[in-house]
Symmetry: D2
Subunit: 355 residues, 4 copies
C-alpha cells in the first residue's frame, strides 16, 4: 500500500482521481490539496464523497507533501508544478503531473503557446511523456511523468499506427475534436454557465489551441520528422467525453498484384491491430461502428475506428474517450501503476456506464 497526495484535488480531474483511487487496492490518499478550500471537508466540496472521504482539504505545500507520500499527482494550472519542482522532491517521491509543464520537450515552444516562463526547464528532459501505450517502458523507470492532455491522448492514439507505419501523409492531417464541458474546469466563468453551453456548439481556440504543439511533437516522433497539422476543438453540451474526427490523405501502398494503390480496409485494420490488439485500453471497433463518447463514459477505454473514402483518397479516423479518465485521471493512475510495478489495469477495470 503506497501513499498518494493530490494537489488540485477539488478540480474535476482531481475529483476523478479520488473516485478512481478509492477503489485502488495499492494506494491510499493521504493529502487532498486544494488551495481554494483549505480546512474544508473534502466531502463538502464534492457531496458524492459524503461518508466515503472524511479528510479535510490541505494546502499545496509540495515539499512537505514529498515527505509524507510516495506519489504526488499535480492536477494544477499550467506553471504550478514547474514552479515547485526541485531535486529534493524528486529524490523522495514520484510525480505525475497532469498539467502541461513537462509535456513539450522544446521549452521555447512551451513558452510561446502557453505564454508563461518555464520555471524548471532542467527537468523537461527527464520527464517521460506518459502515453502508456507508446512509452510504457520509459514510464516504468520514470520519476517524473508528464501526463498527456485529454485532446492529445485521443488525437494521438487515433492516428498513431497509421503515422508510424507511413500509411498517411501527416502533413495533411486535420483533427476536428469535440469535448464535453468538464474539460473547461470548475472555474466560475460566464461562458461555462449552464445556459451558455446547453443547446449550443461552437469551435474555440481555432488554429491556436495549446494542445496543437503537443500532438505535433508526439506524432512527429512517430513520423520521424516535424509535422504541422490543424487541430480544432469544439465545446459540446455534455459533461464528459472527447470525440476526434481526423482526416488525412492515404499514401499508396503496394498491392498483392504488384500494382500501387490505396490501402484496403484490411490493410489498415491490420496496422491498428498490430499496435492495439494487446492493448487493454484501446478498443479498435468492428467494421462500420463509429465510436461514441457514451460507450466509454466513466472508463479508461479509447475506442477507435476508421472509414476509407475511396472517392477522395482520404481516410477518416475516429477516436472517443472520457476526458476525465483516459484523458486525465485514469491515465495518471495507469502511469502510476507502471511506475510502481502494479498491475497496469489495477483500479482501472471500470465498465463504461450506459446510459
Amino acid at each position: 500500500m503506497i501513499k498518494a497526495g493530490i494537489i488540485g484535488a477539488t478540480g474535476y480531474a482531481g475529483g476523478e482521481l479520488v473516485r478512481i483511487l478509492m477503489a485502488h487496492k495499492e494506494v491510499e490518499i493521504k493529502w487532498y490539496g486544494s488551495r481554494s478550500y483549505i480546512d474544508k471537508k473534502y466531502a463538502e466540496v464534492y457531496q458524492n464523497m459524503f461518508q466515503i472521504v472524511e479528510d479535510v482539504c490541505l494546502d499545496d505545500n509540495m515539499e512537505e507533501l514529498a515527505k509524507q507520500v510516495d506519489v504526488i499527482f499535480t492536477a494544477t494550472p499550467q506553471g504550478f508544478c514547474a514552479s515547485m519542482m526541485n531535486d529534493d522532491i524528486l529524490s523522495k517521491v514520484k510525480v505525475v503531473d497532469l498539467s502541461a509543464d513537462y509535456r513539450i520537450k522544446d521549452v521555447a515552444v512551451y513558452e510561446k503557446w502557453y505564454g508563461i516562463e518555464h520555471k524548471s526547464p532542467q527537468y523537461i528532459d527527464e520527464a517521460v511523456y506518459g502515453l502508456c501505450e507508446i512509452n510504457r517502458e520509459d514510464v516504468k523507470k520514470a520519476r517524473l511523468v508528464a501526463n498527456p492532455g485529454c485532446y492529445t491522448t485521443c488525437s494521438i492514439l487515433t492516428a498513431y499506427p497509421l503515422v508510424k507505419e507511413g500509411l498517411i501523409d501527416p502533413d495533411t492531417l486535420i483533427i476536428d475534436a469535440k469535448s464535453g464541458t468538464s474539460g473547461a474546469g470548475r472555474g466560475a466563468k460566464v461562458p461555462n454557465l449552464y445556459c451558455e453551453v446547453n443547446e449550443n456548439i461552437k469551435a474555440y481556440g481555432v488554429a491556436s489551441h495549446r494542445h496543437t504543439p503537443e500532438i505535433e511533437e508526439q506524432l512527429g516522433y512517430a513520423a520521424g520528422k516535424e509535422i504541422l497539422l490543424n487541430f480544432t476543438p469544439h465545446l459540446v453540451p455534455m459533461n464528459r467525453g472527447i470525440l476526434v474526427t481526423e482526416y488525412a490523405k492515404l499514401n499508396q501502398v503496394k498491392k498483392p498484384d504488384g500494382s500501387r494503390g490505396l490501402p484496403s480496409y484490411e490493410d489498415i485494420k491490420a496496422v491498428y491491430d498490430k499496435y492495439y490488439k494487446e492493448e487493454k485500453f484501446v478498443r479498435v471497433l468492428e467494421k462500420g461502428i463509429c465510436p461514441e463518447t457514451k460507450w466509454v463514459e466513466g472508463s479508461n477505454y479509447v475506442d477507435v475506428n476508421f472509414v476509407i473514402d475511396e472517392r477522395t483518397g482520404r481516410i477518416i479516423m475516429m477516436g472517443a474517450l472520457d476526458n476525465l479518465v483516459k484523458g486525465a485521471a485514469g491515465q495518471a493512475v495507469q502511469n502510476m501503476n507502471l511506475m510502481f510495478g502494479f498491475k497496469e489495469c489495477e483500479g482501472l477495470e471500470l465498465v463504461p456506464m450506459f446510459p
Copy 2:
C-alpha cells in the same frame, strides 16, 4: 462463484445489472436473455461492453435457465415473471424479480392498477419485498424476492423512519417525484425521443401511477394502518436519477419542558439516525444540504434529508437515488448478496461519478 441468468438483459436495468455484476467477485453471468436480440452479440446491443462481454443473447426460457444457474434476475415487463413461475423453478434457483409481479400482497390491488390478470398469485405470499434496509432478515431466507420499484424505493426510504415512529401524519403525505428518462425504458416511442424530452419537464400518471399502491402498502405497514397518499411523478431531461420531495404534517411531540409542540431538527435527526446510521447505502446528509441526484449517480446510495417548516407545521423530506442502481439493478444485487450470504455490499461499493 455462483452463476446468474438475466432475463431482459438488453433493457436499461438489465444492462446495469451486467455492468455491476462484471465487477462482482462471487457471480458470473451465464445467460443474457433478450427476446428482441436472440443470437446477437450482447456487445453489439451495448457497445460499451465491447471486449468485456463476448456472449450472445439467448431467449427467455426460464425453465431451461433454472437448470443452468443459481440465480435468475427478471428485468421484464409486468406479467412475464408471474406467467413463467412454477414450483420446479423455485426449487432449483433463487429469483429476483425486478418487475412488479410480486410486490403487492393484495392481488386485487395489483390487477386493478396494472390492468392484467396475475398468473401465479400462489407465490405472492412467499415473495419477500426486497427493500433490504427494512426486510433484511426475510430477504436472507427468501427464494423469491420482489425487487422494489425505483420511485418506490426512494419514496419509502425517505419517509419510513418518520412514519414508523409516528412523527408525521401519513394521510397528509404528498410525494412529488422527479425521474430521469432511463426510467421510461428503451422502447422506441415518440414521447421518449430526445427532442421531446430535452428542454422539457412534465408530470405524468397524475393520481394514477402504478407505484402509488406499492408505496401505500409498504408505508402502511410502517404506520400500522392503511394509508392513502398522493404520488406524482415527473419526467426530467436527464438520463439517471430520482428525486422525491415529500410533504407531511408533523405530529406534536412531548417537549423536554413537558409541553407539546413540533419536534425539533434534533428530534427528527435522531429518528433518521436510529434507522439509518448503520445503513451503508442510506446517507442522511448534514443539516441544510439538499440531496441532488448527481451526487449519487452510478452508485447504490440513497441520500436523504429534511427541512422543518415551522410556519406551516409541515416537514419537507427529500431523497435522491440512481434509478438504475439503488432503484433497480443495485438493489437486486444487494438482495442477491443477502440471499446467498455474500457480503451485503459486495459489488456495490460504487463511488458516485461526478460530474
Copy 3:
C-alpha cells in the same frame, strides 16, 4: 412610438425584453443599461443581436434616463429600483420594475425575507402588482408596476380561480415548483456551471424561498384571509421553463341532488373557464393533458390543468410557463401595453417554439 429604457439589459430577463421589444410596433429601445458592460456594444454581449442591435451599453442613471424615455424597465437586483426611485422620476416616466422591490405590500415582510432595508417604502402603496389577468384595470392606470416573479406568476395563476371561488382549502396548499436554469441569472457562480446543473435535479431554498410571501399575499387576497403555504423550488437541467405542481384539499360542494360532496371535473373546469376563457395568455388544457414547459417555450402563455384524486380528496393543479417571457419580460411588456393603452397582446403573439 414610445421610447423605452432598460436597466439591467444584459441579464437574461433584460435580453429577453430586447428580443420581444425588437418586434413591438409601438416601442423603440433608446437605452441599454448595463453597469457591467458600459461602452461595450450590446451585440458583443449577446451575439444573437449582431446586426440587429447597434447600440452600446450605457450606465444605470435612472434620473437621466427618465428624461429621455417614456417607460423604464428595471431588470435589476433586489433593492436597486427602490434605492433610485423618486417623485421626479415617477412624474416623467412609467416604470415597470422586474425586481421584487414593490411586490410585497408589507414592508416588514419584504425586509425580513429579502434581508435588506427598503429605501423607498412610500411608493409601495401606489405600485400595482402587475399580474395582468387579475389586476388589469389597476395596471392601466399605474405609473409604477411591480412585475411579478416567475415562480409567483405560475403559482398564482394555477390556483387562483379555485382559491377565489373557495373550492380548495388554501391552508393545505403545497406548491412544488421546477425551474429551468435561466432563472438563476447570468452571474458566474460554481453552482450554475454546466457540469453542476446538467444531469442533476435538486430542491433549494426549501421553506425559505423569497417568492413564498409574494404567493401567500396574492392568494391571500383571493382567499379573503391570510394564508400560509409550502413552496419548494427545484433546479432542472434546461434553459427555460417553470412547471408547478400544486396540491390542495378540495372543499365539499353542494351537488345537483342536494347532497354535499367533492366537486366534479366539470365543476372545476367551469371555474377555470370563468376566469380564463377570455384570457389570451392562459390556456386551460383539455382533460387529461398535463402542461409541459416545452409547449410554451418562447411564448407568453401559461398552460394550466388539473386532476382530481377522489381517493385522497385532493386536487393536483399544474401550470407551465416560460420564466423569461410570461415569468418576466413578456409580462413586463404586457403590463406596458396596458399602461400605454396599446393592444394588450402587441408584441406578444409569439408562437411557442418546438422542439
Copy 4:
C-alpha cells in the same frame, strides 16, 4: 393573402413551417397534411399550437390540394414529391419541396445516393435549387423549388465566396458538420431516444451521407468544375442547430508588393463581404468571433466566420444555422416570398432566442 398547404405538417420541419407561417402577413394555411394523424386535431399532435391552430390533419392528396391552395410545401420523405408531381399540379400551384427529390440535377447521382428510382425526372431541369442567396433571380421565376438540405445550406454558404473567387482549392475541402437531433426527424427509433443521444456525440454516415453530392454539385458550379470533398456529419445532444467547420488549402494570391502569398484576413473578409454584405440572413461575424448555434436559434440567420492558419496554409471556415429554420422551413418561406413577390424577409424577421 395566399393560401398554403403543407404535406408532412406533423414532422419537425412541418411544425416549424406552421410556427413561421402563423406570423406571416401574406399567407394562411389551409391544409395540414399528415398521413399519420388524419382527422386528429393538429394541436393535439403539437400542443404548443393549442388555441392557435384549430384545424384537423388531412391526407396528402396533392391533386386535390393543388385545387385549393396557391403554394404547396412538401416536407415529406425522399421520393414522395417526385412520385406525386405532374403537369396538372404545376399548372395550378407553386411547389416548394423540402425533400431531396429535385435538388440533384444528375438523376443517376440521385438514384445512387438515395437508393430509389426517381419517379418524375422530367421536372428536375425546371426545378430551381432554392438557395436564395445564390439563385435569387431564378427562384423568383420558379414554379418548382428544391429547398436545400440543412447540412447543405450551412456547408455551401460557409465556403461559397471563397470557392467562387478561387481563394481555396476546392478539392482539399473537408467539411466536419455537427447537428442537433431534430434533424433526425420525429420517427420513433431507438438511436433517437433521449438516453441514447444525451451525453453523447458520434459521427454517422461517414463518407456516405446523402448531402455530400448536393454540396459537391453546388460548390462545383461555383468552382466551375466537378469537385470531390469530404463531409462528415455528427449527432450532438441538442434540439436545434448545425455547425460546420470547414478546412481547405488557401490558394496563393498576388500581394500588394507584387509577390505571391497567402491571402490576408482582410483579403478574405473582403470576399465574404462582397457576397454577403447586402444579405440580410447571412451574418459575417467580427474578427475572432466563432459562430455558435445558440446565437441563431429560432431565426433564419446563418452566421459565418473564418480563421487563417498561416502555419499550415489552411483556412478554417465556420458556419452556424438553425436546421429547422434556415436549414428547412425558414428557407422554404424565403423561397415562397421570392416566388410570390413578397418582401423576402416577410415572416422571417425572427430574433434569435437566447438562452
